[in-house]
Subunit: 72 residues, 2 copies
DNA sequence: ACTTACTGTAATATATTTTTAACATTTTGT
DNA sequence: ACAAAATGTTAAAAATATATTACAGTAAGT
């Protein structure tokens, strides 16, 4: 796959608003705490379904949680 | 990962509007034709970045290309 | 009818995400 | 100051996405 941009996310901010730990969010969406930590730190590119589950947990749309900035 | 829903997509419709083959779209987003075919057929769950690249190719937002229907 | 392009799908290989387990550091509550 | 919870990070294994190759079937153009 040919990336043309960089992925950013607002998960830490949204978690803070809800006062959720990484583990709280992880439990809600059915992944491990490390998966959430890795996504927050941009260590990897989540699946679309996981992105939807995270957005749903925050009662947001994907574009309110993730941003993809094209560089090319 | 714990799926709570099903992923649907409008890629075939959007391709038809643009008169693009699977290969045309694949080339634009930098994947193979089989990757596009598999996503169209819901054989798998693309990465968020690939979803953004596909939406961008169609000049659409992700929610205009993909829909995630919660079942739980 | 023929050729070429397009699509469906499968097998195997490779890359990446996700899990699990672990340990160190930082933050929070008392 | 102490204990408990939260976070950062890493390594190895497991699961899943993506690439590559291949072949068959369908649609489209001439």
């Amino acid at each position: 796959m040919n990336k043309n941009g960089e992925l950013y996310n607002k998960i830490p901010i949204l978690r803070a608003e809800k006062k959720w730990s990484q583990k709280d969010l992880a439990n809600q969406v059915g992944v491990t705490r490390q998966t959430i930590a890795s996504i927050e730190a941009n260590r990897y590119n989540p699946s679309l379904i996981l992105a939807y589950e995270i957005a749903f947990a925050f009662e947001k749309e994907i574009y309110e949680v993730f941003e993809y900035k094209f560089t090319n």
